[in-house]
Every structure is written in structure tokens, then in C-alpha cells.
């Protein structure tokens, strides 16, 4: 089966480029004729994941595999990891600093949004080692 692979470096020091990977994936899906509703779900889920890598984990790598019927996204970082994933998934839970919140992030809705807008989501995280988030969105 045909698969398009895309890979991005997510810069953890640069808020200005945050969203670059999801923006590029969104554009690609649009060009491929994926329905606007699916494109939007992918864009929301991936943007939240990308932002989390920037604000919580000093950046990382984003990989997308686009199949005719779905997209698989892997967000990999070597950040601090998540100690309690159930707690992190709670709507409104955030460890973001005041400085981060003043930029409009840190509502604690990122992981819940990713869950809501994807069809499958899996978090693998080890404290002190890093986090990989898997997202699948069916078209």
C-alpha cells in the first residue's frame, strides 16, 4: 500500500516555529483531497502534540505516515517524561508556567483535545527519558 512519509524537527527553543509541522501536514492532506473535517481533526491533534513537545520537552521529532484511509503520527521527545499519564490526561491539568500561560498555552486541554480528535492515541513515557505519543486519525 502506498504511504507518504513526512518528518520534521520540532525546535524546542523557538516558539515562533511551533506549529510548523502540523501546518505542513495540514497543507499536504488538503492538497491530497482529504475531507476538510478530517484535515481539521489531524491539524488539532497534531498541533497540540507539537506544542507539548515545545513547551514541556525541549522539542523533538514529528513523523507522519499518510495512507489512503488514515494518518499515523509519532511525536517523539527526549524531555522529562510524564510521571502520571492519567492525571496528565485530565481536562484542565497543566504544569505550564505563568510565562507559558501568558502566551496562550497551558489550558490543560492539549492531551484531552488530542484524545478527542484522534481515533487512536497512545502515550509511552518514561520519566527522565522521554515521551512518544502515537496518534491515528482515520479519514
Amino acid at each position: 500500500m502506498q504511504c507518504i512519509k513526512l518528518e520534521y524537527d520540532v525546535d524546542g527553543e523557538n516558539f515562533a516555529s511551533a506549529g510548523h509541522a502540523s501546518e505542513s501536514v495540514k497543507r499536504t492532506l488538503k492538497q491530497m483531497g482529504v475531507s476538510p473535517a478530517s484535515v481539521r481533526r489531524v491539524a488539532i491533534a497534531m498541533y497540540e502534540g507539537e506544542i507539548n513537545m515545545v513547551i514541556h520537552a525541549h522539542g523533538g521529532k514529528a513523523e507522519a505516515e499518510i495512507y489512503p484511509d488514515r494518518i499515523d503520527i509519532y511525536l517523539k521527545d527526549s524531555g522529562p517524561g510524564i510521571a502520571d499519564i492519567d492525571l496528565a490526561m485530565k481536562a484542565g491539568y497543566s504544569t505550564a508556567t505563568e510565562n507559558i500561560r501568558s502566551l496562550g498555552f497551558g489550558a490543560g486541554m492539549g492531551l484531552p483535545n488530542m484524545k478527542q480528535y484522534s481515533d487512536e492515541m497512545k502515550i509511552d513515557s518514561t520519566v527522565g527519558v522521554g515521551t512518544t505519543v502515537f496518534l491515528r486519525v482515520n479519514f
Partner: protein, 109 residues
């Protein structure tokens, strides 16, 4: 109503210009996670947030235009990114509530 007509009738400042699309609704908010999941398509997005991520989020949600309220002007990175992405970034002097009333009255949304 299209964005250019809203600008004229409401007297908003224009910082950057985009495609002259029809406005179908409005959304007020500053937390980017709320906006990307809740703002409807083709909306006027009213905010006081002023940083480059506003452009990324506006592009993600395909809003018709951004209105920076309370006299906020885009900083240079937001201005540059808005121009590059072809977004409307508008400005209003009133607070978000008053600006929303203006948008509702002028656009009938």
C-alpha cells in the same frame, strides 16, 4: 458579509490582509487550546493575545479574520507570520465584549 465590508463598517484597523471571505460566526478567547477545538469555521476570532502563535492557530482553524481587541497591535513576529500566511489581522480599540457586539451588529452573526 465579507471581511473587507466588516472593516469598513466597524472601522477596524487593518494590520495584514488575507482572502476576502464571508463571515459566518464569531468566537472570543485567548487560550489557544480552546480556540482550536471550539472556534467555528469562517469565524471572526476576537482576542487580546498578541504573539506569533496566534497566526499558527488562526491558520489551523481557517477563521475569516483575527481581531486584536483593546488597542493591541501585533508584534513583529505575528505581523510577519500573518502576512506570510495571508491572514487578516484587524484591530479594535474596545474590549472583547464591546467588539463582539459590534461584529454581531454589523455582520448579523
Amino acid at each position: 458579509m465579507n471581511v473587507s465590508e466588516l472593516v469598513k463598517q466597524a472601522g477596524f484597523a487593518v494590520f495584514t490582509k488575507g482572502e476576502d471571505r464571508a463571515i459566518e460566526s464569531g468566537y472570543c478567547g485567548d487560550f489557544l487550546s480552546n480556540i482550536i477545538s471550539r472556534a467555528p469555521d469562517a469565524c471572526v476570532w476576537l482576542t487580546v493575545m498578541n504573539n506569533v502563535n496566534v497566526a499558527a492557530v488562526a491558520s489551523l482553524i481557517d477563521c475569516a479574520c483575527i481581531v486584536l481587541c483593546e488597542g493591541v497591535e501585533p508584534d513583529t513576529p505575528l505581523y510577519e507570520r500573518g502576512k506570510q500566511l495571508g491572514l487578516w489581522i484587524l484591530g479594535a480599540n474596545e474590549n472583547v465584549y464591546e467588539t463582539a457586539k459590534t461584529v454581531a451588529r454589523v455582520c448579523g452573526v
